[in-house]
């Protein structure tokens, strides 16, 4: 199909044949409004704020005043509000329904937490104002730390990492620091199961470790025999996700921990899937030396379109001395942050981030924890696991679970139910979009062919789980008829956009708007669909 596109007008939908309805004059489709870029909307006479005229004083800029315009567009406040409101309506969100992105834990984000984070006593305090004026902020961090330590059964926690991957960096640095202190920096091997998140090998490699992949068994667990065979005096650590990325609990975890410790190595646990066991199992009872906790997963701080996150790291006695600065201490004068030491060489680990960590995430996470309490968090894990197993049981009628037996918080399927249908995992996922669902995680973990990883979480009512299962069963049956291949390959047809050309995006990167990106308005060009 050949389509003309007038990019500068931003209303190319008028010429599009997408969807089932006739094209409209505006390109809009009822509530779905086409929206230009801000750079295509600005007018020099417009501004969305009113600021006073600065007083006339001689500047002290040493002749370094900016020459020439920046190029920012001018919009009035109503235009700005409309622009972002229209953009928001092109997004799927947890607030709209089931968001079964496996491994990402897209659960309900309570609005109480947003309110708490915005209290002026938390949101409008500076990280470097006198410590006597922020006693409540330190108290909150310490209280959150107490919850994290108690829940995990671990003696220490480093609060400053900004996200899960940053927490991994913190934990693996602590391991490197501990090995250095032991005079065993020659340990350079880190064992990482093939099913691990990509951040695990990336983190280990960044720290100069040599990553040695450990295979999975046919039942989706880490191959314990292969792991033990790989252990030796060169091994610094193992990085193991538990529950693992196949949604299974590593039942031999104690055995693994003992074997790892026996050769003098450390056990890093990736806590991305802690949601499945929170309140019910303490990682400290499993022999873990350190584990990051994604507050944006288990403790429901909002994912925000890709962050910010927060990744505190709980540490065992063996690693507690190697936490990064700052840490919170309490003495006769009250709370205080131990922020600075001498040089890095004088410190066990150093500093991973300016200031004290992701305070705005701490407030939300603590509000979430207190709302659930010890009893409710246990119920969180149970309902998350129950919901995943329910989805697995219902979908197994038409779809093919990757492994037998119960799962933890996520249900993993392979693509063998699509074999010979001409429909791929990708096509199947895209068809879900037209049915009103966000797709599951696809093609991960890598150890399963055409993986479909579904994490319903504990915050969906049974009615919504049932509707989701009914829709997927319908799609699976439709795929198997063999008569709907083109329909699947064309999906989605009702979303704000149809499938996007990612190859074009990578081959000829256009990473910013420039006036020259756009052809003159009177000369529509033919586009890549040619």
């Amino acid at each position: 199909m050949v389509q003309s596109l007038d990019r500068s007008q931003g209303r190319s939908g008028a010429l599009s044949a997408s969807g089932t309805t006739a094209p409209t004059f505006t390109g809009n489709r009822a509530l779905q409004l086409e929206e230009k870029l801000i750079f295509e909307m600005g007018q020099p006479g417009r501004c969305g704020v009113d600021l006073p005229e600065p007083p006339k004083v001689a500047d002290r800029l040493n002749g370094l005043r900016r020459r020439g315009a920046i190029g920012l567009p001018g919009l009035a406040e109503p235009q700005v509000v409309q622009h972002y409101t229209r953009l928001s309506q092109k997004n799927y969100a947890i607030d709209m329904g089931l968001y079964p992105l496996g491994s990402c834990t897209m659960k309900h984000n309570p609005r109480l937490n947003e309110k708490i984070a915005r209290l002026p006593g938390f949101a409008d305090v500076h990280p470097l104002q006198p410590q006597s004026t922020v006693q409540g902020a330190f108290e909150l961090i310490d209280e959150l730390a107490r919850w994290l330590k108690t829940l995990t059964g671990m003696p220490a926690v480093a609060m400053s990492p900004a996200a899960g991957a940053h927490g991994e960096m913190c934990g693996m640095m602590a391991i490197a620091a501990a090995l250095h202190a032991r005079g065993e920096s020659q340990r350079k091997t880190v064992l990482v199961p093939e099913s691990a998140h990509g951040t695990n090998p990336a983190t280990a490699a960044a720290l100069g470790f040599v990553v040695k992949p450990i295979p999975a068994t046919d039942d989706g667990h880490v191959d314990v025999a292969a792991l033990k065979a790989a252990l030796g005096p060169d091994v610094a650590a193992i990085m193991l996700t538990n529950p693992n990325t196949c949604g299974l609990f590593e039942r031999d975890i104690r055995d693994v921990a003992d074997a790892v410790h026996a050769v003098g190595a450390y056990f890093y646990c990736d806590g991305a899937n802690y949601n499945a066991i929170v309140g019910r199992v303490r990682p400290g009872d499993l022999g873990v030396d350190c584990m990051h906790i994604n507050l944006h997963k288990t403790f429901s701080t909002p994912h925000g379109g890709g962050g910010p996150g927060s990744g505190p790291v709980v540490l065992s006695d063996r690693l507690a001395a190697y936490a990064p600065r700052p840490w919170i201490v309490r003495d006769a004068q009250g709370w205080r942050a131990a922020e600075e030491g001498a040089s890095v060489d004088g410190q066990p680990l150093g500093r991973l981030k300016a200031f004290h960590g992701q305070m705005g995430m701490f407030t939300r996470a603590l509000a979430y924890m207190m709302s659930h309490g010890s009893d409710g968090l246990k119920q969180v894990a149970e309902d998350a696991v129950l919901s995943a197993n329910y989805v697995m049981a219902r979908l197994s009628v038409e779809m093919t679970p990757a492994f037998g037996g119960p799962c933890m918080h996520e249900a993993l399927f392979d693509d063998s139910f699509l074999k010979d249908t001409g429909v791929s995992t990708l096509d199947f996922a895209k068809a879900m979009i037209d049915e009103g669902f966000h797709p599951m995680t696809m093609y991960f973990p890598l150890v399963v062919h055409g993986a479909l990883l579904i994490e319903p979480t504990e915050t969906q009512p049974k009615e919504s789980l049932d509707q989701f299962c009914d829709a997927l069963l319908h799609l699976a049956r439709k795929a198997k008829t063999g008569t709907a291949v083109e329909e699947f390959r064309a999906a989605p047809t009702m979303a704000p956009r149809r499938r996007l050309d990612e190859t074009l995006a990578a081959r000829k990167p256009v990473l910013r708007w420039k006036p020259s990106n756009n052809p003159p308005t009177d000369a529509p060009t033919r586009q890549a669909a040619e």
């Binding site: 928001s88 500076h126 303490r282 910010p308 150093g350 049974k462």
Partner: protein, 448 residues
Amino acid sequence: MRYLPLTDADRSEMLSVIGVRSVDELFRDVPEAARLKGKIDGLADHMGELEVDRALSAMAAKNRAAGAGPFFVGAGAYKHHVPSSVDHLIQRGEFLTSYTPYQPEITQGTLQYLFEFQTQIALLTGMDVANASMYDASTGAAEAVLMANRVTRRAKAILSGGLHPQYRAVIETTARWQGFTAVGAAPDATGIEDLAAQVDKDTSCVVVQNPSVFGHVRDLSPLAKACHDAGALLIVVVTEIVSLGLLTPPGEMGADIVVAEGQSLGVGLNFGGPYVGLFATRDKFVRQMPGRLVGETVDADGQRGFVLTLSTREQHIRREKATSNICTNSGLCALAFTIHLTLLGEAGFTRLAALNHTTAVKTADALAQVKGVSVLNSAFFNEFTVRLPKPAAPVVERLAAKGVLGGVPVSRLIPDDPAVADLLLVAATETVTDADIAAFARALQEVL
């Protein structure tokens, strides 16, 4: 429990569909010894909204908010007025409760604002291209050094004495554990440092902050030339993004990588985080960049759309060969930033910058009138350094007791260095009134 929709009837029906008698059977892979029989001890049971709100509001009330009185604290985080519509818009559930736009067909909202954000950052910094954000500028600075090491295949970074000491600590920590050399210069309180002579053929980059942590504004062109002559990159750190409404952007002075903190626009103080790291570079280095990138493309109907792109740099594709281990960025803070900047536009942003500068000039002039106090800066934006006749840390405490938060004592950032013990960093933004300045000068006179 209000966040858990399953009823007991639902649970028993679901168990029977699964074919097990109890939820315990689903946890059968957990070792017997690690299975907790009841709930975890030492933590309270669930609470209603009212109780949680009451408990946490009490904690918040123990803190002195920046807006509660005269406020001059900066050093990498700045108090600015954020228009009301910013926070309203970022709380729309479609933004707040969405995730990384892995499915572009149903995340065009996030992708388009990130594309606009990338463009704004490139314009502000005077660079070719920017990514979709980093955790913050301190971690971004460390990533910039790693990037420079990849580009130059060298492993020595030179850190300016005007770089924020906590940023320096982050880079030094990264250097120590990721295996490169970071050479730090002595604190440059007077803004006269010249690093050009130190740049040699082993140098991968020089990291310099402008305005510096002491507030000095300098022309970096000569340093850029020295770097480029030696085959090294110039990394410019900007902790106050509003300064680029008034100052020559780093890109025009020859920067190869610009790392900036975006906290000043839209985000707020938040006791240090979350913030938003801005990261920009030259086109030729784009494939060595860390972090997510959004690019323009077309859909199957030829309509313009946006996708995450060049992801072959990233950990989820490249694993141990990735340019960085970063997964999450700071999406919602980037949204707050871009909305605030869109509201400001060219006219508002440049006026905001001018207001900050004139307010700081008035503040500096008022403090210079206080006996025994001298301002060290000849050029600055909205923050400057004063020398007091006695150690600054106790002075700041005494000012706080008088209701004035009068800045950051340098000794908080650089302890145990007598050369900086009497120095105080003072920031003044558009939120500071003439009455605030008068109150500060009066209180300072009283406590000295």
